[in-house]
């Protein structure tokens, strides 16, 4: 087994679940004894990925968002946020700072925040099939 622990959550794409998702990941990550800053970074990145799924993947209807967290060897938290929504036609464009297809309540900085707060970020998307955001964060080992 390459991972030491895992959890999976499925929830509908309701905006009230943004806070639930980031809190659930923070509770799960607590067993790695993260610093407050690391926990803040993880909560922020999860909030961005889940919000993207809620706002962009299912623009006209509710769909399911799947959140999977695994603890890998070497104090690494592995997070996958997956949807079966509309997909991203141009990932490079979506990753560009300030780019958004949302309204004035969106800043277009979601992927930029995920990139700067996590150790690794991969985005896979097929238009009409859905999007998977895969993030990793290596945590410092505290003495």
């Amino acid at each position: 087994m390459k991972f030491e622990n895992y959890m999976t959550l499925d929830f509908p794409s309701k905006s009230c679940n943004e806070a639930f998702a980031r809190s659930a990941v923070a509770c799960f990550a607590a067993q790695l004894d993260p610093t407050i800053e690391e926990l803040g970074d993880i909560r922020t990145a999860v909030s961005e990925a889940v919000t993207n799924a809620i706002v962009h993947a299912y623009p006209d209807e509710l769909g399911t968002v799947t959140l999977r967290c695994r603890i890998l060897k070497g104090q690494t938290l592995d997070i996958v946020v997956k949807d079966k929504g509309v997909g991203i036609p141009n990932i490079e464009e979506a990753r560009r700072p300030m780019f958004t297809t949302g309204g004035s309540d969106r800043s277009g900085m979601g992927f930029t925040i995920m990139e700067s707060f996590m150790t690794d970020l991969q985005i896979m998307s097929v238009p009409g099939k859905g999007t998977t955001v895969h993030m990793r964060r290596k945590l410092q080992r505290r003495k």
Binding site: I36, G40, T44, V55, P97, D105, M109, I113
Partner: protein
């Protein structure tokens, strides 16, 4: 979403609370725009002292307030930022667009 605001000597202070994410950002954006439109302040201070978390939706709240203040040739100031909100605003360059005072180190 909860906030209080007060006007003194042309300075409008809006004290935000809790966690600012997409779920509440739109209501914050609309409420702050309505306050600025009603009072036309020379300075608007967004007080983050009681805000424990922001994501990029918080950036949109600040950018929209900045847009409203620029339209009336006023100034926007952020105050009382904790470490997590400050890190988000630094990563996105908001700290270069808006004056920040009394950030919690």
């Amino acid at each position: 979403m909860q906030f209080t605001s007060f006007l003194q000597d042309g300075h409008l202070t809006v004290a935000l609370t809790g966690e600012i994410d997409h779920h509440c950002a739109k209501r914050y954006i609309q409420s702050i725009a309505a306050k600025i439109e009603a009072y036309v302040p020379a300075v608007c201070v967004l007080d983050f002292k009681e805000v424990s978390f922001v994501d990029s939706s918080g950036i949109a709240v600040v950018i929209n307030a900045l847009r409203s203040m620029t339209q009336i040739e006023g100034k926007l100031v952020l105050s009382g930022l904790g470490e997590q909100p400050m890190k988000v605003f630094r990563a996105s360059g908001v700290d270069k667009l808006v004056q920040i005072k009394e950030a919690v180190s």
